[in-house]
């Protein structure tokens, strides 16, 4: 298991942030790690909706259960985290 | 007995002077250019003006109010002459300034 720093673009936030995740994190865990630095800080949560992860400009999100390793994220990969 | 620690050389840099209360005496501590340390009465003998508001050039202290000047080495008035500043024994030990105020009273003129 290694730490993978990511460049996170959280929906409706104004800035890209550095978010380190572990290689065995699922996408839900990635979204949670990202949310920690944006939700309730500068972005209002939307209860009942699910956060998804995709590559910047990616057409579709990764499976919620797939891991960072499976998704093949490079160090400082730019991902978008958004409400489905 | 009576040397009391007043401040450190960190508090009072070369080129500075500051007014301190030392056991009830108002004392002007001078840390002059070149590193000498003197302690003189804090109030001008002329009128009730704190000398800390004056200016120091070399060893000449000038009161801001009426520009009376004193030699802080000897405590003698330079202009006008005939007046005096009380001098308190002062010494530096381990980067701290100590002053002895015992038995010394400031001078005042009635001018």
């Amino acid at each position: 298991m290694t730490t993978v720093p990511l460049c996170v673009n959280f929906e409706c936030d104004f800035v890209l942030q550095l978010v380190p995740v572990e290689s065995d994190f699922t996408m839900d865990q990635v979204a949670e790690a990202a949310a920690h630095h944006s939700l309730n800080r500068r972005v209002k949560p939307q209860p009942g909706r699910t956060l998804r992860v995709r590559l910047q400009d990616g057409e579709s999100p990764f499976d919620r259960e797939s891991t960072v390793e499976q998704a093949g994220f490079q160090v400082m990969e730019t991902i978008e985290v958004y409400y489905e | 007995m009576a040397f009391a620690k007043v401040c450190s050389l960190d508090d009072l840099w070369e080129g500075e002077m500051e007014l301190y209360d030392v056991n009830g005496h108002e004392v002007l501590i001078i840390h002059g250019d070149g590193g000498y340390v003197r302690a003189v009465q804090g109030i001008c003998p002329h009128q009730e003006i704190p000398l800390v508001e004056g200016t120091l050039q070399g060893k000449t202290l000038t009161c801001r109010a009426h520009l009376w000047q004193f030699d802080v080495e000897a405590g003698e008035g330079i202009n006008p002459t005939g007046c005096k500043l009380a001098i308190y024994p002062a010494e530096v030990r381990d980067d701290n300034i100590f002053v002895d105020v015992e038995g010394i009273e400031p001078f005042y003129t009635s001018a």
């Binding site: 104004f14 800035v15 890209l16 800080r41 500068r42 | -």
Partner: protein, 499 residues
């Protein structure tokens, strides 16, 4: 015989090129230090500086300028103004002095590049005055804030900032290395004197002076507008250089350097001057909005000048005009949120009245930036200051070294304009920053931004605390909300009254 006029002897004082015999021309004027375009020497000899002065006139006029600036300072007893100044205004002073004093001094070294390696004697003479000017600007902008250090430790950063690894210092150093310190004499003439000093310095030194006058900071207003009179003169080093380059078939190359410099300056000013004018200056004292000042000085004045000299407007001009509505709001939000990482106390500038003003000047502000501020305001009201403080670092652009920002809220458009180059991924805040990189990758590629250094393990411990230490910030230095959140309590006033 009557005494001579300046014009009688002026040309003799710039007839000083000769052909070297004991060394080669290339040794004396290496291309990389003198002129990246390699325009022949005889072409440079047509150089004619339009704003002339002589040594005799210079020392007399500059003595008078200094007498004015120093006497105003003495007469007004600055300490008293500072005691009563709005905290937001104090932050402008801290930001200004820290960001500018030592860079002005460094600009003197770039003037020295022109004074030594410039190919035209007239350029060398004018740049010698420019070197003196920048010595003035460095020194006077240290002398004025020095008396504040005993009152407020953040003023120490007037001297300290450029020596530190604070992100704002890295960003400033990188931008100025690109337009002056790291360039040859000809490029300095274009990038520093033309693209910077006939454009952006007007914003900070005259635009902001207007705000200063409104605020009542007469000393500062007088100081910076006095500085700009020097800039107005030595900024004219660039114009004749541009004309020579265009005449000799180098319009495209010259245009590119101007475009690079303009963009780099624009991004830097979006974080320095933008927040100062639109957020830190007390609302009642704002002469104009940042955008309005930009329109006056840059769009109305500088853009017209570019065309008059024979260049085109930069290729990204439409992007830039759009940016006027957005970038500095994001920069401000970033600086405020990461306030412990700066040496001044950012004023939020987001009280209800201020938001009305922002909405009026920048329609749509409430639906975008306002959305982020809404969450911040709720957190403060609910006693959750912790949520208004950062726990990670923002990604900074590998060109401008400022946070990569975009529009939040309903018009969310944030994105990373990255580029993979020689096996490394570079992140950029805009396509223009990426374009700048692509023009000359080896000038930038080996440089590490703050995030690169963090990931390389140069910042220890590897957390925000370690980052603050790396940036040289002691707890007393770290920025706080300038008004201690008093602006938040202007929200929901009726409730408070009811209680």
């Amino acid at each position: 015989m009557a005494l001579l006029n300046r014009s009688d002897w002026y040309d003799i004082a710039r007839d000083t090129n000769w052909t070297p015999k004991y060394v080669t021309e290339e040794e004396l004027f290496p291309k990389e230090m003198s002129d990246c375009f390699d325009v022949p020497r005889e072409k440079w000899e047509t150089y004619d500086e339009p704003y002339k002065t002589s040594y005799r006139e210079y020392v007399k006029v500059q003595r008078e300028k200094d007498a004015g600036a120093y006497s105003v300072k003495a007469a007004l007893g600055r300490m008293k103004f500072l005691d009563s100044a709005d905290p937001g205004w104090k932050s402008i002073l801290k930001l200004h002095y820290g960001g500018i004093a030592l860079q002005e001094y460094a600009a003197g070294m770039a003037e020295a590049t022109m004074a030594r390696f410039g190919r035209a004697p007239g350029m060398r003479n004018m740049a010698t005055f420019g070197l003196l000017d920048e010595t003035r600007h460095g020194q006077i902008q240290l002398y004025f804030p020095h008396e504040y250090v005993s009152k407020d430790r953040q003023f120490d950063w007037a001297h300290k900032a450029m020596h530190s690894n604070d992100w704002a210092a890295i960003a400033t150093r990188h931008a100025f290395a690109d337009i002056m310190s790291g360039r040859d004499a000809t490029s300095v003439a274009l990038m520093l004197t033309f693209a910077f000093e006939t454009a952006f310095t007007n914003m900070q030194f005259l635009g902001l002076a207007a705000d200063a006058a409104e605020v009542g900071d007469v000393t500062f207003s007088n100081l910076i507008s006095s500085i700009q009179t020097d800039e107005a003169r030595h900024a004219q080093i660039g114009t004749p250089a541009l004309k020579i380059l265009i005449e000799n078939g180098h319009k495209e190359g010259a245009q590119k350097l101007v475009d690079i410099a303009f963009w780099r300056n624009w991004r830097l000013f979006s974080v320095v001057t933008g927040p100062s004018m639109d957020y830190y200056t007390p609302l009642a004292k704002r002469e104009k909005s940042f955008k309005e000042f930009m329109i006056e000085w840059i769009v109305g004045q500088f853009e017209r000048n570019i065309l008059d000299i024979g260049l085109d407007v930069p290729w990204y001009w439409d992007t830039f005009l759009e940016d006027l509505n957005t970038t500095h709001h994001g920069m401000h939000l970033g600086v405020w949120y990461w306030r412990p990482t700066v040496w001044w106390d950012p004023a939020a500038g987001a009280s209800p009245d201020e938001r009305d003003w922002l909405e009026e000047k920048y329609p749509g502000w409430n639906d975008t930036y306002g959305k982020c501020w809404d969450v911040i305001i709720d957190n403060i009201k609910n006693g959750r200051e912790d949520l208004t403080l950062p726990e990670t670092l923002p990604i900074v652009c590998n060109m401008n070294h400022l946070p990569i920002v975009g529009v939040p809220g309903k018009k969310w458009d944030v994105r990373d304009h990255y580029l993979d180059y020689k096996g490394r991924r570079y992140h950029f805040g805009s396509k223009v920053d990426r374009w700048v990189f692509e023009q000359d990758p080896d000038r930038y590629a080996g440089h590490q931004g703050l995030i690169d250094r963090f990931l390389a393990g140069k910042i220890q411990p590897a957390n925000l605390e370690g980052a603050l230490k790396y940036m040289g910030l002691q707890p007393e230095d770290c920025g706080k909300d300038a008004h201690d959140y008093a602006w938040v309590w202007n929200y929901n006033k009726p409730d408070k009254v009811a209680v």
